[in-house]
Amino acid sequence: MADMVLETRDLTVQFGGHVAVDGISTGFRAGELTAIVGPNGAGKTTYFNLISGQIAATRGRVLLEGRNISRKPASTRTRMGLGRGFQLTNLFPDLTVYENVRLVVQAHQRKGGRLLRLADSDDHMRDMTHQALDQVQMRVQADKPVSELPHGDQRKLEVAMLIAMDPKVYMFDEPTAGMSPDDAPVVLDLIGRLSQDRSKCILLVEHKMDVISALADRIIVLHNGALVADGAPRDVMASAIVQEAYMGRAQANV
């Protein structure tokens, strides 16, 4: 699987007796947007946590561009090009919108060790930060503390932070959950545009079927931690196992 940007091999994690992710082996290509679906508790977020290093695997490996990164801390994986977004809002609440994004840019440029410069004196960093904020139309809120933002804007900021990382692999975990009908298209358009870039590999956990059909090149289905279906959106949606494992819930959800 030489052309895979990201690969997991027999990736497994067990919490006590409960197997939350169960031997997932698959790979993700550049230029491909893969939707990851499955009912609540299927293990989607946990699968992400294993890939980006928030939790350690019980068994199996994660490979980024062919290199085994299973033992690397999350910060290293991020700097190597894994862009992890979070399902639950997970920001720096007392810092401003601008500073939240600027910190990401600074990490990306590996300038966090500088002691004697002023944090905001770097023009290039400032431009990158503004660009990322523009992408989600949040430049006007740049100076607000994050804790004062409505939920939808916090979700948009989450996306802006991913953009600012300029990663090889984007990992979106239900990016539009809880967003207003006005805000969701901003984010979905953005993801659509990213998916046009043939060098980017995108993983998207998403429940809404219309979103998936519009954006995804491929769907993988998780159920009880295992990968149970994998293929083109049309085929996967029609298959019996998905009807049973997932569609019932999705329909109830719409």
Binding site: S52, P73, F92, R102, Q106
Partner: protein, 375 residues
């Protein structure tokens, strides 16, 4: 220019700016404004403690790391100067060597403590520092050949920094007072005279301490506003996410522990130069650790300016509360209970009351309150 010196970190409130300016001017002109050696001694202690508390704020306020070993690093710097002065003889080289060696030793110890404990969990770090603090205190009192034990060490510093040398007279400022305020004497119009004292090496010593402290505080202000400083704040806010966006949290925590130890050691060196004596009680005791904690909390965490306010308030309270109470007790000698309550022996009680009140009314410290933020 001013803003640049402060690294763009403006105090953020007019009242706070005025208070800070007042403190700065009082300390800058302390030898000429206040009379007596005790006042000068208090001013020097305030300078040293501002640095010490600010360095602790780097850890607690900016990064959210709790340490009980800060006095050890303070002690490293102080004993460094003492030992170098004893073994190399009185000289400025000895002071510099001692300060350098103390800072280096503090950095190494901090790195070792950090490497062993911060990798595990931040709470573990607090416990380890407590253990190391006790161990070092015991060690210092046992190794009396080297450290002088409980008695500590006295040593000589360059003559230029002692009262033995005179640099001249302080200029006298004569301010003519309006007749109405102070009726003239036979000799002529009323004059208010300021200064005029002998400028001794002690005053030069004070300015060494003052300038050193000022530079160190400005340096820390720069560091907290640097890219590194912002990462520290991010870690305090959400260490999980700081790691996720690409900062190795452990490394930053170890880094700031080392930095803060170096600043504490340098504060200790200044203290040792000022006192010409070091001992476990003056630099290593647990009371000093508690003082540091109180000063950080009273002044406000995560704002270097809080250290300034906290150190001034507590230092003045500790040095002058007793006198104030003695005065008040005499004045109220006839009032039942009041005189008893204000008995100078109860000054600690009143300090405690002051502390509880300040935490109750200023949960974010004096600085937090003046900046208009609430807990």
């Amino acid at each position: 220019m001013m803003v640049k010196l402060l690294s763009g970190d403006k105090p953020g409130s007019v009242l706070l700016s005025l208070i800070l300016l007042g403190i700065f001017l009082s300390l800058a002109f302390a030898p000429f404004l206040f009379e007596g050696t005790r006042a000068l001694d208090t001013a020097a202690r305030i300078c040293v403690f501002i640095v010490l508390v600010a360095s602790y704020d780097l850890l607690l306020g900016y990064t959210g790391v709790v340490s009980f070993a800060h006095t050890i690093f303070f002690g490293f710097g102080a004993y460094g100067v003492a030992l170098a002065s004893i073994h190399m003889g009185r000289s400025f080289e000895a002071l510099a060597m001692g300060a350098g060696a103390g800072a280096l030793g503090a950095a190494l110890l901090a790195a070792v403590i950090g490497l062993f404990s911060l990798r595990v969990r931040a709470i573990f770090f607090a416990m380890i520092t407590l253990a190391v603090a006790s161990a070092v205190a015991v060690l210092v009192s046992q190794l009396s050949v080297l450290t002088g034990g409980e008695d500590g060490l006295t040593y000589r510093i360059p003559r230029e920094l002692t009262a033995a040398v005179t640099y001249g007279q302080a200029p006298e400022w004569r301010i003519a007072l309006p007749e109405a305020v102070a009726p003239g004497t036979e000799e002529g119009p009323a004059m208010l005279t300021l200064g005029g004292d002998r400028i001794s090496g002690k005053i030069a010593n004070y300015y060494l301490v003052f300038a050193g402290s000022l530079i160190l505080v400005l340096l820390m202000l720069r560091i907290v506003n640097s890219p590194f400083g912002r990462v520290l704040q991010a870690i305090r806010e959400n260490d999980f996410r700081a790691e996720a966006i690409g900062y190795r949290v452990v490394s930053y925590r170890i880094g700031v522990t080392v930095l803060s130890a170096v600043f504490a050691a340098l504060a200790g060196s200044l203290f040792a130069i000022w006192l010409r004596y070091v001992g476990p009680d003056t630099v290593l005791s647990f009371e000093i650790m508690i003082d540091i904690l109180l000063m950080v909390v009273i002044g406000g965490m995560g704002t270097i300016y809080g250290a300034v306010i906290g150190a001034v308030v507590l230092m003045l309270a500790q040095n002058y509360l007793k006198d104030l109470m003695a005065g008040a007790a005499t004045g109220l000698a006839d009032v039942p209970y009041a005189a008893d309550l204000l008995n100078p022996d109860r000054w600690l009680l009143w300090l405690g009351v002051l502390f509880v009140l300040s935490v109750y009314f200023f949960p974010t410290g004096v600085v937090g309150r003046l900046r208009g933020k609430r807990g």
